[in-house]
């Protein structure tokens, strides 16, 4: 299935939970936040949330700042 992640189209062999998605993109969960269609998904829901084909997934990370 095709998924929009951070503004780019990604293809996956099957639907993934957010936890599996991070894993497949080699992203550690520390300091990371995820929104689907501009709705923030609580960390505790990552293993039980599976984005659908039309969904826009945005993955954010903590960076240096003042």
């Amino acid at each position: 299935m095709q998924l929009q992640v951070n503004g780019e189209s990604h293809r996956f062999s099957r639907a993934l939970t957010l936890t599996e998605l991070l894993d497949s993109l080699n992203i550690a969960s520390e300091g990371v936040a995820i929104a689907i269609n501009q709705q923030v998904i609580p960390r505790s829901d990552w293993t039980s949330t599976t984005p659908q084909a039309a969904d826009q997934v945005d993955i954010f990370q903590s960076i240096a700042g003042g």
Binding site: V5, N6, G7, E8, L25, N26, I27, A28, E30, G31, V32, A33, I34, A35, Q38, V40, I41, P42, R43, D58, I59, F60, Q61, S62, I63, A64, G65, G66
Partner: protein, 258 residues
């Protein structure tokens, strides 16, 4: 130095620090350690999936400092609330430094968006630390909507101009019922010491430490300055007078020669 309490959390250090602009993660950690800060700010950005997987959070957690995410990049209250909600999940903290500065030239914080966002975020259970201009009325309004402190600026972010807003910081400090943290524009340890001498509860410094040719030494200098300023404030600064006041009696010496 007396401890500082913000939202029931106690701090032994009154020097807060930013993590931006350091030449490397190692240098950042060394400088932050030298500053003895107990709270550092972080920003949030959408990841570049093609980029490296640097983790800034891990070394900061090893330092044992409190992590304070900021909403830098938000241009409106709506964006700031979204950024805060993301940050809450990213760093697993309810604390948020609320900063909304749409104009990149001067990075002046938008007071109207900030007050609106502060009210919403307080209602949603956040510990809101709002970054604003040194506007005494705005600071009282932020306090009234439930902010746990106020963070008035000394001068524009990264300008190192010092306490351009000094007169208004003094008013804010006099009137505040919550901690006052002077944030932005502090360019030298003497600026930090002055802020503390005026009665500020803490200062936040980033650029001045990070861009120094020796950030570790500079961080140490800021640590000393904050301690000096706070200790002096608590000891009671001597009154300022227009005229001279001799330190020894002017009589009983030269008269004997007459």
């Amino acid at each position: 130095m007396d401890k500082l309490t913000i939202a029931k959390r106690e701090f032994s250090s009154r020097l807060f620090a930013g993590t931006g602009k350091f030449a490397s993660s190692d240098l950042m950690c060394a400088a932050l350690a030298a500053s003895e800060t107990e709270l550092v700010t972080l920003s949030l950005r959408r990841m570049d999936l093609k980029g490296g997987r640097d983790n800034l959070v891990q070394p900061l957690k090893r330092l044992g400092v409190n992590l304070l995410p900021n909403t830098s990049g938000a241009r409106t209250a709506k964006e700031a609330v979204f950024a805060a909600e993301l940050s809450r999940e990213a760093l697993e903290t309810d604390w948020i430094k609320l900063e909304i500065h749409p104009d990149p030239r001067y990075l002046m914080p938008d007071p109207i968006e900030t007050l609106s966002a502060a009210e919403q975020l307080v209602k949603n259970g956040f510990v809101v630390m709002p970054y604003v201009h040194a506007d005494p009325v705005l600071c009282k309004r932020l306090e009234e909507v439930g902010c746990q402190c106020v963070m008035p600026l000394g001068a524009p972010i990264g300008s190192n101009k010092g306490l351009a807003s000094r007169t208004f910081l003094e008013i804010i400090i006099e009137q505040a019922a919550v901690p006052v943290i002077v944030d932005a524009g502090i360019g030298a340890p003497s600026d930090a010491a002055l802020a503390m001498e005026l009665g500020a509860d803490a200062v936040l410094v980033n650029t001045a430490m990070a861009v120094s040719s020796d950030p570790v030494a500079m961080a140490g200098a800021f640590r000393i300055a904050v301690e000096a300023g706070r200790t002096a404030y608590r000891a009671g600064l001597a009154p300022v007078s227009r005229e001279a006041n001799s330190t020894s009696s002017l009589e009983g010496f030269l008269e004997t020669l007459e």
